[in-house]
C-alpha cells in the first residue's frame, strides 16, 4: 500500500499535465493544429515506431549512436586525465589553465568549426557530444580526486603501495561518487547539445526530426520527436543512477527516510 501512495504522490502532477494536454486541445481551447491531444501524439508515436516503415527507428538509432560514441570518448579521456590532473600537481599546473579556458567556450559556438573540420557527417556530431560532456566528467573527476581522504593514501603508502596502486585502489574508488555526478551531468548536456547540433546541421536524428517535422507541418511527429528525446534522457539518467547506486553503496547518504 505504501508504495502505491508514494507512486500517486510522485506522479500526480505529471498525470494532471497530461490530462490537460488531452482535454484542452480536444475542447478546442488550444488549437489542435498547434498542440494535438496527447492521445494523438501517442498514436503517432506508436505508428512511427512499430508500424509501416518504422520511420522513427533510424533517427533514434543514429542519435543514440552519436550520443554514446561522444559520451564514450569523453569518459575514456575525461576520467584518466582527471585522475592525473587531480593527483599530480605538475599535470595540474600544465593542464588546468587550458581546461578552464576551453570549458568556457560554448559547444554550439564551436559547432561551425567542427563542421568545417569534420564535415557535416557523423564526426562533427560525435565531436560536439564529446566536447560538452568531457568537461563535466573531467572537472568532477578532478574534484573527486582532490577530495580523497589523505589518511587513506597515508595508510596505503604505509603498506608499501606504489603510486600506480594508490591511484587504482584508493584515489579512483574514492573519486567514484564525484565521477558519477560528472557522468550524469555530462549525459544531460550531451543530449542537449546533440539535439541542438542535429537541428542546425544534420540529415537524420531526433533533433533533425523536430525541426523537419515542423517545416513539413507534421506537428504530431514533432511532439513525438521531442518526447523521444526526453525519454532517452530519462532512461540514460536512470541507468546511470543504478550504476551509481551499485558503485557507491558504501557511502552513507543523508537522504534516508
Amino acid at each position: 500500500m505504501e508504495w502505491i501512495m508514494k507512486f500517486i504522490k510522485k506522479s500526480a502532477l505529471i498525470f494532471l499535465i497530461l490530462a490537460l494536454w488531452e482535454i484542452l486541445p480536444s475542447l478546442k481551447i488550444i488549437r489542435p493544429s498547434l498542440l494535438p491531444p496527447f492521445s494523438d501524439v501517442l498514436i503517432t508515436w506508436f505508428q512511427l515506431i512499430f508500424l509501416g516503415k518504422h520511420e522513427l527507428i533510424p533517427d533514434i538509432l543514429i542519435s543514440l549512436q552519436r550520443a554514446l560514441l561522444g559520451f564514450g570518448f569523453a569518459l575514456l579521456i575525461g576520467v584518466p586525465l582527471g585522475l592525473l590532473i587531480g593527483y599530480f600537481k605538475s599535470f595540474s599546473d600544465v593542464f588546468s589553465p587550458l581546461v578552464h579556458i576551453c570549458r568556457q567556450i560554448p559547444a554550439l559556438a564551436l559547432f561551425p568549426v567542427f563542421i568545417l573540420f569534420f564535415g557535416i557527417e557523423e564526426t562533427s556530431k560525435v565531436t560536439i557530444v564529446f566536447w560538452v560532456s568531457v568537461w563535466d566528467i573531467l572537472l568532477n573527476t578532478i574534484s573527486g580526486v582532490q577530495h580523497t581522504d589523505l589518511l587513506l593514501i597515508k595508510a596505503a603508502r604505509s603498506m608499501g603501495a606504489d603510486t600506480e596502486r594508490i591511484l587504482a585502489s584508493v584515489v579512483l574508488p574514492g573519486a567514484v561518487p564525484a565521477l558519477m555526478t560528472g557522468l550524469r551531468l555530462g549525459a544531460g548536456s550531451a543530449i542537449k547539445a546533440l539535439v541542438a547540433a542535429e537541428m542546425i546541421g544534420a540529415k537524420a536524428g531526433l533533433g533533425f526530426q523536430v525541426i523537419n517535422s515542423q517545416y513539413n507541418f507534421q506537428i504530431s511527429k514533432m511532439y513525438v520527436s521531442i518526447l523521444s528525446i526526453a525519454l532517452i534522457g530519462i532512461i540514460l539518467n536512470f541507468i546511470l543512477e543504478i550504476i551509481e547506486k551499485k558503485l557507491t553503496f558504501w557511502k552513507p547518504t543523508i537522504n534516508e527516510e
Binding site: L151, L152, A155, S158, G160, A161, S169, P173, F249, W250
Partner: protein
C-alpha cells in the same frame, strides 16, 4: 650514553640524533621561518617492547611516527630497524591511526587483505591470513560487512588486524583509541595487550592519556614541545597481566610523576649527546 640508549643486544629500533625541521612561509613577505618539530632525538627500543610516547601538542609525536613509518624524511639523523636504516615505507612496520583509515568501499576482509595484496600474496593464502587475524581481533563474523556498518571500536579492530596481517615486526600506533568512548577504550586496551602477548610485536604507541600509557607499556617516553625533545623516560615495572593494576599505589605514584614531567614541574633528565651517534 644518553638516557634514550640501552646497552642491550636486543635493540630493535635505534633512533640516532634525529632532527626534523619544517620551513614555513610567513603570511607577509617571503622570509622563511624554520619550525623545529624534533630536535636531537635519540632513543632505543627493545625487541618486543611496548613503548608509549606522551607529550603536549606540538611535541613532534606524530612527526616521529611519520619518520618511523618512512612517510617523511628526517632533516638529519636516522632511524635504524635491526641495524638497517629506514628509507621509505615498508611492510616491516604496520601503522594504526586514530581515524581508522579503512577503505570504505572494501569489506572488512578486503581491508585486512590490502597489505597482502600489495605484497603479492595469492588469493587463497590471503584469505587464510585474513581469517586468522579477523579471529584474533574477534571480528570473523563481520568479515563481509563494510566499514559504514561498524562501530568505532570495531573499525579500530579491523585497522589493527589490517596492520598485523602482513606480519610487520613493528607496530606503530598513533593515538589509536583517542576517538573511542572510555568503556570501548578500556576493552581495546586489554585486547591490544592480549594481541601483543600473542604476536610478540614491538609496539610504539602514541597517546594523550598518561593512564593508557602506563597501563599498556614497558616504558613511557615523555616529550616536551617547541622544539620537540625527549624529556624523560619512565620504566613501568608493574606486574603483568595488568588487570586491576590501576588501583595500586605504584600506579598512582607513576601517574603523578609522569604528569609532573609532562607539565614541566620537574627538571628534565640530563641528556648527553655524543658526536658519533652511538
Amino acid at each position: 650514553m644518553s638516557i634514550g640508549q640501552i646497552a642491550d643486544k636486543s635493540v630493535k629500533i635505534s633512533v640516532r640524533g634525529l632532527n626534523k625541521c619544517f620551513t614555513c612561509k610567513r603570511e607577509k613577505g617571503n622570509n622563511m621561518r624554520q619550525f623545529v618539530a624534533l630536535k636531537d632525538f635519540s632513543l632505543d627500543v627493545r625487541e618486543s617492547e611496548f613503548l608509549s610516547i606522551v607529550g603536549p601538542s606540538g611535541c613532534g609525536k606524530s612527526t616521529f611516527l611519520d619518520l618511523l613509518s618512512g612517510l617523511a624524511e628526517p632533516t638529519s639523523g636516522g632511524i635504524y630497524i635491526d641495524g638497517k636504516k629506514v628509507e621509505g615505507p615498508a611492510l616491516d612496520r604496520g601503522i594504526v591511526m586514530q581515524g581508522y583509515a579503512l577503505f570504505p568501499w572494501r569489506s572488512v576482509r578486503k581491508n585486512v587483505e590490502y597489505g597482502l595484496e600489495v605484497k603479492g600474496i595469492p588469493k587463497q593464502e590471503r584469505r587464510e591470513i585474513s581469517q586468522k587475524f579477523l579471529e584474533l581481533v574477534g571480528l570473523s563474523e563481520f568479515a563481509e560487512r563494510y566499514p559504514y556498518e561498524l562501530s568505532g571500536g570495531m573499525k579500530q579492530r579491523v585497522a589493527i588486524a589490517r596492520a598485523l596481517a602482513y606480519d610487520p615486526e613493528v607496530l606503530l600506533m598513533d593515538e589509536p583509541f583517542g576517538a573511542l568512548d572510555a568503556q570501548t577504550r578500556e576493552i581495546l586496551q586489554d585486547e591490544l595487550l592480549r594481541i601483543w602477548a600473542a604476536t610478540q610485536k614491538t609496539i610504539i604507541f602514541v597517546t594523550h592519556s598518561i593512564d593508557e600509557a602506563i597501563y599498556l607499556s614497558d616504558r613511557v617516553v615523555v616529550l616536551s614541545a617547541n622544539p620537540g625533545t625527549l624529556r624523560d623516560i619512565f620504566p613501568i615495572e608493574l606486574r603483568r597481566p595488568r588487570d586491576g593494576v590501576r588501583l595500586t599505589p605504584d600506579y598512582v605514584e607513576l601517574t603523578r610523576r609522569i604528569a609532573d614531567s609532562l607539565h614541566g614541574k620537574t627538571p628534565p633528565s640530563q641528556i648527553i649527546h655524543n658526536g658519533d651517534g652511538i
